[in-house]
């Protein structure tokens, strides 16, 4: 019996690992063709992209900083997808999570970091979850379309934050719509400062302890979905709602639970941005991360660990494209968005559609 099952299990694992790589390569190859058409050498371009993302210590730090935010955002989308729900509201939940963290930092300004940082993280979780709760509640109790409500909540979040930052929380006596800088004790410690405290000198970059938090969150999310009864409920509702009714699982509550969890994860992305990098509340700090999270969450498929390589990929594209644009004046930010779009197209929308015969047999 085992002799029978082993090879096919090996194949299934190979498929789970190789398929996304294959999809991403397909996206990059098509991007390369388009770059060639506009007169950019695709090989040189990919070289400067990789160098820009991983070629020197500072670049690695920046890539990891982007990856942190994308991990939270991707995990958020992935968790909701397990329950069969499409959370488009990551952008707004990140914004509100950052607000929660920022409010705590402003209110407890000057208190020791050991107090401020955990409280601010809890506030980010609560604000993110609360922002997801309203669409979730409307879905569970009234059947409102989640896609519509979460998109609307993105706009609401942007409007609320603009008002808060221009009229309420703005630092007195300045024109820019942002709060005063928090005192250094309430910053999320960066790896640079942690290393220098240990007497090691590493390159200056915004990557901070939130990265560890993000990795823990991914591990926690994967454990929750795969190994707990609550996660089982999530997957039954996502896999077959009729079977959930049969098993006595309340699909409405599961939807609320899953989306609040998703909102909490997205909220933590706000911690990385607000407490780890900007050290103040500014306008538009989510900067589309909620939408990148959709691609990351879709690419991960069934396995939560897949969020990590997905986040790294998009972080590398985001950071590496800076060098790419410096090296190639023909490449502008819109072209970088196009490359991202092609990767999302092949790895998300066409996931597993293009495949090698050997991979297909393992299905």
């Amino acid at each position: 019996m085992t002799a029978d099952t082993e090879p096919s299990r090996g194949k299934a694992v190979a498929r789970a690992v190789l398929q996304p790589i294959f999809d991403v390569l397909a996206g990059l190859i098509v991007s390369g063709l388009i770059l060639a058409v506009i007169g950019v050498d695709p090989l040189a371009a990919s070289k400067s992209l990789v160098h820009g993302a991983f070629g020197y210590p500072e670049a690695i730090g920046y890539t990891l900083y982007y990856a942190t935010t994308y991990m939270f955002a991707g995990l958020s989308v992935w968790l909701a997808l397990r329950a069969g729900l499409f959370n488009i509201g990551g952008e707004g939940q990140i914004y509100l999570g950052g607000l929660g963290a920022g409010l705590v930092c402003v209110a407890l300004d000057g208190m020791p970091g050991i107090v401020v940082v955990p409280v601010a993280c809890l506030a980010a979780i609560t604000f993110g979850a609360a922002w997801a709760f309203i669409p979730a509640f409307l879905l569970a109790k009234r059947g409102s379309s989640l896609v519509v409500t979460t998109i609307m909540f993105n706009f609401l979040a942007a409007a609320v934050m603009t008002w808060l930052l221009t009229a309420v929380m703005i630092k007195p006596g300045q024109a820019a719509p942002e709060t005063a800088e928090f005192s250094a004790s309430s910053w999320m410690p960066s790896f640079t400062s942690l290393a220098s405290a240990l007497g090691i000198s590493i390159a200056n970059s915004p990557v901070n302890l939130s990265l560890i938090l993000a990795l823990l969150a991914v591990a926690g999310g994967q454990f929750l979905v795969g190994r707990t009864v609550a996660g089982y409920h999530l997957r039954v509702v996502g896999g077959n709602p009729d079977a959930a009714a049969y098993a006595g699982i309340d699909a409405g509550w599961v939807a609320i639970f899953a989306l609040c969890l998703a909102g909490a994860c997205a909220g933590l992305a706000g911690v990385n941005e607000v407490m780890g990098v900007h050290h103040r509340l500014i306008l538009d700090f989510p900067n589309g991360a909620g939408f990148v999270g959709i691609a990351v969450g879709l690419m991960a498929g069934r396995n939560g660990w897949g969020v990590i390589p997905g986040a790294l990929l998009f972080a590398a594209l985001a950071q590496g494209s800076v060098d790419l644009m410096i090296d190639n004046p023909r490449i502008n930010p819109e072209l970088v968005v196009m490359v991202q779009g092609l990767v999302i197209f092949f790895a998300g929308a066409l996931r597993g559609q293009l495949t090698l015969p050997k991979l297909r047999a393992a299905r």
């Binding site: 096919s8 009864v229 089982y232 896999g239 049969y246 098993a247 006595g248 047999a361």
Partner: protein
């Protein structure tokens, strides 16, 4: 020399990984006859037919039509060559009309007008020729199951099929619809068509076919003229042993009342009242069967008793204790010892994307051995699934296989294992043997009889009247959401049951004669 066979398969071999589904099958199908193809689940019937219809390619072997070797890379090629297939699950678009469904794929023009006019003319011709009259402008969703199947047959004829394959066509039909289907198939045969009838119901094979071929474990193990064999002989070839079709198990010893329903009313999710003012008593040590024409409310009754559909009026009690209707929900019922095998297993009972092991704990996932303190225990879940698979002979014995990749019969066995192995006080069971092969049917029926012998209660809802007669101690007949009569198994002749299921009760007959 006789004329070549309408369809001939020569040495067909097909493997899927380590599973050898067809092993050198050679068979001839003559024009103007009805051929039965029988075999257990997984004997290779469906694989063979999907090869004939171009959905799969054989590893080795050839297909000949009228003596010419053909190659079917796609179903389209098979259709062009004159092969039509009626799938077990209909391939119709519910919201389109009969005519639109017929045309699908044959329109040929940008504008539909011409095709519609031609289709209407062809429909009238086909109706004349084969007695298959259907309303062209009715939407498929408004047709009965039997009529939908006729649409499928018409679709094949519309594409000039000369060879018609029907895959388990009677599994969704009631007795009356089945007779009508048989009449249609006989007309087609007399018109010179070749009909291939795939089934595992022996009585149908005997009643309908001219020739019969038996598959076992991917091989042809018998082929004969139907007139020269009988059910017992076929069953023996099919499973290689004798199958008893008589009364199963000992007599009932009705004990304590387990469940009592008084005047309950239930609506389906669309809000239509499906059950009104129904009374029901289930005791220990007896098997109570519900019989009825399809759509008489049996499914809804099963779902309501199992806590899926809410009961909105009436009284429910469990072992003498009155229950709040709001608490009569799936979640709390398992704790009372009520297990439920739904009559639509794929819809309610399993999650296609889960591994077999994960599907095998559904409903029991939050208690031991599957979970403790809210955490799943993968090792215990695997061990439980392995034991269940051994116990109920689920194949393949692989807890990690995707539930959706298992055959229907094995999914059903996994589901039965989950619900029966936990030794419930009361088992609510719908269509217990659907899709499972005849050898497993006997084992499942024996388990139900065993539950009765051990003083458990069973409510059996099935369209299989033979099964009801073999197992039930009391037969309740349902018609339009109410129980219209009760019979003992020896009173339950086809005639008596048929009349009651059609709503003609003893009382109303007495009134007519009196």
């Amino acid at each position: 020399m006789s004329s070549p066979a309408a369809l001939e398969l020569i040495g067909i071999e097909k493997s899927f990984g380590s599973i050898h589904a067809n092993r050198g099958i050679s068979i001839k199908f003559a024009a103007g006859s009805i051929h039965g193809l029988i075999g257990e689940n997984g004997a290779g019937k469906s694989t063979l037919m999907s090869i004939v219809f171009g959905m799969q390619q054989p590893d080795v072997g050839a297909i000949r039509i009228d003596g010419r070797t053909v190659d079917f890379p796609t179903p389209k090629a098979a259709i062009t060559a004159g092969i039509g297939m009626v799938h077990q699950h209909f391939m119709l678009i519910d919201r389109c009309t009969v005519l639109e469904n017929l045309l699908l794929g044959t329109e040929n023009n940008f504008a539909l007008g011409k095709a519609l006019a031609y289709g209407r003319k062809r429909m009238a011709e086909l109706a004349r020729e084969y007695g298959l009259a259907l309303p062209p402008d009715t939407r498929v969703r408004d047709l009965s199951i039997g009529e939908r199947q006729s649409v499928e047959i018409l679709k094949a004829l519309y594409r000039d099929a000369r060879i018609l394959i029907l895959d388990e066509p009677t599994s969704v039909l009631n007795a009356e619809q089945k007779e009508r289907l048989f009449a249609i198939l006989r007309t087609l045969r007399d018109a010179g068509k070749t009909v291939i009838f795939v089934s595992h119901k022996l009585s149908e094979i005997i009643a309908l076919t001219d020739h019969v071929a038996v598959l076992r474990q991917g091989r042809m193990v018998g082929e004969t003229a139907t007139a020269e064999t009988d059910e017992a002989a076929l069953a023996t070839i099919m499973i290689g042993g004798h199958v008893d079709l008589g009364r199963i198990g000992g007599a009932a010893e009705p004990g304590e009342i387990l469940l009592e329903a008084n005047g309950i009313a239930v609506c389906n999710p669309q809000g239509e009242r499906k059950i009104d003012n129904l009374d029901l008593t289930l005791r220990r040590g007896e098997i109570v069967a519900i019989a009825g024409l399809a759509g008489s409310g049996q499914s809804e009754l099963l779902q309501a008793l199992a806590g899926i559909l809410p009961i909105d009026r009436g009284r429910m009690s469990w072992r003498g204790q009155a229950m709040d209707l709001r608490n009569w929900r799936a979640k709390s019922l398992r704790a009372l010892g009520i297990a439920h095998v739904p009559d639509e297993p794929r819809r309610f009972g399993l999650v296609a994307d889960f591994s077999a092991a994960e599907s095998a704990i559904l409903g029991y996932h939050d208690c031991k051995p599957a979970a403790r303190h809210g955490l799943l225990n993968p090792r215990a879940i695997l061990a439980d699934c392995n034991a269940a698979m051994n116990d109920f002979d689920v194949r393949p014995r692989r807890p990690d296989i995707r539930t959706g990749a298992m055959s229907g019969g094995n999914q059903q066995k996994l589901l039965l294992a989950r619900e029966m192995r936990r030794d419930p006080e009361l088992l609510l069971i719908g269509e217990p043997t659907q899709g499972v092969d005849i050898g497993a049917v006997a084992a499942i029926q024996a388990r139900l009889a065993d539950m009765r012998a051990r003083g458990k209660g069973v409510l059996l809802v099935t369209s299989d009247l033979d099964q009801i007669r073999a197992l039930a101690d009391r037969i309740l007949v349902m018609n339009s959401g109410a129980i219209v009569g009760e019979l003992s198994p020896d009173q339950a002749t086809d005639r008596e049951l048929g009349l009651m299921m059609g709503g003609v009760t003893t009382k109303s007959r007495a009134q007519i004669s009196g």
